[in-house]
């Protein structure tokens, strides 16, 4: 398949290699993505796989040895993480190195970088039982630390609590890393099992972005994935809609600024023809500095420091996210709901639509400006039935009408609200 600048080919066994030929950057990027269905039982054990693998391997049994190798490759980068794209877990390993043309000794840096990445993924440090126990216990401790430290970032914390409640009882309600309780219960055996399952059962998408010819890198991965694999079917993402009666969760913490987060489950999939109207509607509501939230709630009424609306296209939900003085939360909530219903009723100006379209197209056209955003843009395109280049997405955005937006928004409703307040908050009953 060739689409825009991307060429995707099969390496066999459920593994695909996509090449994005791009000569503007000084470095190139390899991203190996393992796609699996969300499985609550693996939330913690699978998250530990990239955490452990990026730290050491058979050939580099300590992180410092790996790190020295990276320095020798002109500050190359190797890293792994786990994230959620719709109802999928995606474990990703990255390798980034400067382009061969800048190597001071004419080294084949891309080949070295691919070899190092495959070493990290396929030859982890092991003991008799499976993946190295010492590394496991250290990383497990760090995973638990990072779950505990989620309260440090109050904005992120509030958003996660909202999303968790919105999707309680659904696959999407599970977070990469899992809960503290799940992380605590994970054994080294579980992680080894998750690792083996990932290698055998995941769909694999490899993306190469750069100028150096990737044949050598491709050959390395073809060899690594030459064993028989049995990729599992990843169920389609479930695009559920908001509940009938919205929920409200309030939490208190020792904070100076409160957080107010509101969620909407649209039921609109990333293949829905109404997606572009949804994008424009969300953007004019709170996605740019000429939006209703920014101009009315922040600038005119001074009700919040930030107040944004954003869309998760891969799961079809909206989040209205704001930082508000605790005493202003009731007023800010009223104001947000008022702007939302204005869009539902078609109270949208031509300027608002024009500004939203321009802002969206500007961000689509900027996708190619950063090597990571370019690479991940085309990964997420694979989750839709048709692949769109940024230019095609812009053309659809430009054709959206006011009526399409209000028709669509009039069918949406709030799923629920999460509020984080400081001490001395007196308006419990106003909400």
């Amino acid at each position: 398949m060739t689409k825009g600048p991307v060429r995707r080919e099969s390496l066999g066994n459920g593994v695909f290699f996509s090449t994005i030929s791009e000569n503007r950057f000084k470095s190139n990027l390899l991203a190996v993505h393992f796609l699996l269905p969300i499985d609550e039982g693996q939330a913690s054990s699978l998250a530990l796989v990239p955490m452990m693998l990026e730290k050491c391997s058979e050939k580099y049994p300590r992180y410092r040895f790996l790190s020295r190798r990276l320095d020798a490759l002109y500050g190359a980068y190797i890293g792994g993480n786990m994230s959620k794209y719709g109802d999928r877990f995606v474990v990703t390993f990255y390798a980034s190195v400067i382009e061969n043309r800048y190597a001071l000794q004419k080294e084949d840096l891309l080949k070295e970088s691919a070899a190092l990445l495959s070493e990290v993924i396929f030859h982890p440090l092991r003991d008799e039982e499976g993946l190295d126990y010492q590394n496991f216990s250290l990383q497990k401790e760090y995973l638990m630390d990072s779950i505990r430290s989620q309260i440090n970032d109050k904005r992120r914390y509030a958003l996660n609590r909202l999303i968790e409640k919105m999707y309680q009882g659904e696959r999407y309600g599970v977070f990469p890393g899992g809960t503290l309780k799940q992380a605590e219960a994970v054994t080294a055996r579980d992680v080894t099992d998750s690792y083996n399952r990932m290698l055998k059962e995941a769909s694999v998408e490899i993306f190469y972005t750069g100028d150096t010819d990737p044949e050598a890198a491709k050959a390395i991965f073809r060899e690594c994935f030459s064993k028989e694999r049995t990729p599992v079917n990843i169920p389609k993402t479930d695009f559920s809609v908001s509940r009938e009666t919205p929920f409200l969760i309030k939490e208190r913490m020792d904070v100076t600024q409160g957080k107010l987060c509101i969620g909407v489950k649209t039921g609109i999939s990333s293949d829905d023809p109404r997606l572009s109207a949804l994008r424009v509607g969300v953007n004019l509501l709170g996605g740019n500095p000429a939006s209703k939230f920014f101009l009315h709630i922040r600038e005119r009424d001074n009700l919040c420091y930030y107040c944004l609306a954003r869309l998760d296209r891969l799961k079809g939900f909206l989040i209205f996210d704001s930082g508000v003085d605790s005493k202003n939360i009731p007023a800010a909530k009223q104001a947000i709901l008022k702007e939302f219903s204005a869009v539902q009723n078609g109270e949208i100006t031509d300027e608002e639509i024009a500004a939203a379209k321009l802002a969206l197209c500007n961000s689509f056209r900027s996708v190619g400006e950063n090597i990571y955003s370019l690479s991940s843009y085309y990964l997420t395109q694979l989750f839709s039935e048709t692949i769109q280049t940024p230019d095609e997405a812009c053309r659809q955005i430009e054709s959206v009408t006011k009526k399409e937006i209000s028709d669509l928004f009039s069918k949406l409703r709030i799923d629920g609200t999460f509020i984080l307040t400081g001490e001395g908050y007196e308006h419990e009953n106003d909400l």
Partner: protein, 427 residues
């Protein structure tokens, strides 16, 4: 003047417009977006200043940042709404030593560039619009009050610096900003938004000829002379060795730092920064004995980071992260430094760290926004954009050892801790 760096085959143009503003233009092949920055050498540290031949004024903390917020507004509309008509994405930031206004766009560069040049030159402050901003900025300050990373940092700076403005929060306090008036804003504006104190940088996809024409036609005022910003001398030693507070965090957060005396010569100052960058990588980076040992003992996690914290008139080395036993981390660090001074730095590790930094600088040229920001930073620091590459290629191990030998005196350091509300440190 054209500045070129042969090994990467890239160049930029630097010149002074008749108004006095310095211009840097860095076109990048193959890019679809352009980034334009218009900045002034004026930040939160410039609280005490005078125009040539006039008496000194002391202004409230946070005023540079406040001015940045207000400058977006003009008599009839605000700059954001003008940019929303061109589709550009606009922003601004205030740091310790500079204020920068910027936009990025993929289309209609000329219109957006004109808007940027105009609004930065058109202050409009009234009693009413100045008062109105207080609510928003107070909210911003409160948001940082809840940010443990920000708090641990400013508490450290407070422990390190006696006089330098860097110890004061960039946004000021809810109290200090309540004293800001239109008159004070105009005074600061005229003192620091003089073309001779300002820099324009553009990188990415744009026509340098068009940019030059637009600058020539949009620059209104000629330079009215220099402003002197005054800072009291900073003693070599820290204020106090230790500070702690309690917040809603899960693990103790720590930062410890060492205050250095910055070299007044810009090139020597840059050389010091780069040498420190390499020394820190060798001493506490991912390949070091120190990090390897503390990481595998569970004393440090991936949040650990070391930074050469520097700007106009300040330079510190800052180390921070999360740890169950931060005091032990600091003690082990001091022990490691003592040994490193005794034994000197390792030649092989030096070459490897140097290689790593070369790659890092090269990757810094990937993104047009980063290039534009670095153009402004290097110009305001008084050095060339490609100077780091040149300095790096000439570094020697003996220079590094000399630098290490003379640093890390106990009385130049401080430790700042944020402790969890619900537990006490187990040490």
């Amino acid at each position: 003047m054209k500045m070129t760096y042969e090994p990467v085959g890239e160049s930029y143009e630097r010149y002074q417009d008749p108004s006095g503003v310095t211009v840097l233009l860095y076109p990048m092949k193959g890019y679809s977006g352009a980034y334009a920055l218009f900045g002034t050498k004026y930040g939160s540290i410039d609280q005490y200043f005078a125009r040539e031949g006039e008496p000194f004024s002391l202004v409230p903390a946070g005023i540079a940042h406040y001015l940045e917020h207000k400058l977006f507004e003009s008599e009839d509309c605000d700059a954001f709404s003008l940019f929303s008509k061109t589709g550009a994405s606009a922003n601004a930031y205030t740091s310790f030593d500079k204020t920068v206004y910027l936009f990025s766009c993929t289309e209609r560069f000329e219109e957006s560039f004109g808007i940027l040049l105009d609004f930065v030159q058109s202050p409009y402050f009234t009693e009413e619009n100045v008062k109105k901003e207080q609510g928003i900025i107070a909210q911003e300050i409160k948001m940082y009050d809840d940010d443990p990373g920000w708090q641990v940092f400013f508490r450290l700076l407070g422990a390190l610096y006696h006089n330098h403005g860097v110890k004061t929060d960039i946004a000021g306090t809810v109290e200090s900003i309540s004293h800001i008036t239109p008159e004070l804003l105009y005074r600061c504006y005229h003192a620091f938004y003089d073309p001779s104190n300002m820099v324009i940088a553009v990188a990415g996809n744009f026509s340098p000829e068009t940019a030059k024409e637009l600058i020539a036609s949009h620059m209104k005022a000629k330079s009215q002379g220099k402003t002197v910003s005054f800072t009291e001398d900073e003693p070599e030693t820290a204020v106090c060795p230790y500070t702690e507070t309690v917040m809603e965090v899960s693990l103790p957060l720590f930062q410890f730092g060492y205050k250095m005396m910055p070299d007044p010569d810009p090139y020597a100052f840059l050389k010091a920064q780069i040498e420190w960058e390499i020394i820190l990588e060798m001493l506490v980076g991912a390949s070091s004995d120190f990090y390897d040992a503390l990481y595998s003992e569970g004393l440090l996690n991936a949040t650990f980071d070391a930074e050469v914290f520097s700007g106009r008139g300040f330079l510190s080395l800052i180390f921070g992260g999360e740890s169950k036993k931060p005091k032990e981390v600091f003690a082990r660090f001091k022990e490691m430094i003592r040994k490193a001074k005794e034994e000197g730095l390792d030649e092989k590790a030096f070459l490897s760290a140097k290689n790593g930094l070369y790659g890092k600088y090269l990757k810094g040229l990937n993104d047009a926004d980063g290039v534009a920001a670095d153009l402004i930073n290097s110009e305001m620091a008084g050095v060339g954009f490609f100077d780091p590459f040149l300095i790096l290629s000439k570094l020697t191990l003996s220079d590094l050892n000399q630098r290490l030998k003379n640093a890390f005196a106990e009385n130049t350091s401080a430790l700042s801790l944020i402790l969890p509300k619900h537990q006490t440190e187990q040490e």
